[in-house]
């Protein structure tokens, strides 16, 4: 059980890191144009907002899905036969 707990924590950590890499790419495209000698304040604020809004979006979608799933099951069946 201790090993299992360790494996779970590490898997969770790895998913978090992949999410950070994904958000870095996405927000880099949205917020950083031509790379200059330093990250200017505007880009910095944009990056932080980008992370916050991405997580907001993700939670908004999850909540809305949860509500509609309570009414009627949406993701009921698998895609292929």
């Amino acid at each position: 059980p201790q090993l299992q707990r360790f494996v779970e924590v590490e898997a969770q950590r790895q998913r978090a890191q992949l999410l950070v890499h994904h958000m870095t790419e996405l927000c880099w495209e949205k917020c950083v144009g031509k790379p200059g000698p330093r990250l200017d304040g505007r880009a910095e604020v944009c990056l932080v907002n980008c992370v916050e809004r991405f997580i907001d979006t993700s939670q908004f979608i999850l909540n809305r899905l949860e509500q509609s799933r309570r009414a009627r099951p949406v993701l009921s069946e698998s895609a292929a036969d």
Binding site: K30, N49, R53, A79
Partner: protein, 71 residues
């Protein structure tokens, strides 16, 4: 149990791709909060994305069945 894992993986895959597409489509310059029009856009976007996923699934399955019938 393996089937459940795959169903969960499938739902997660759909969620991730939908979140990514709708974030790109609805949030131009990320501001200090998710404003009302952004929320409306995301709500419509996710409904349409799931419509599209359902349409694609159906089209794929009907193609599969036609091909099996022809074999």
């Amino acid at each position: 149990q393996m089937k459940v894992q795959i169903a969960v993986a499938n739902a997660q895959e759909l969620l991730q791709r939908m979140t990514d597409k709708c974030f790109r489509k609805c949030i131009g310059k990320p501001g200090g909060s998710l404003n009302n029009s952004e929320q409306k856009c995301i709500a419509m976007c996710m409904d349409r994305y799931m419509d599209a996923w359902n349409t694609v699934s159906r089209a794929y399955n009907s193609r599969l069945q036609r091909e099996r019938a022809n074999m």
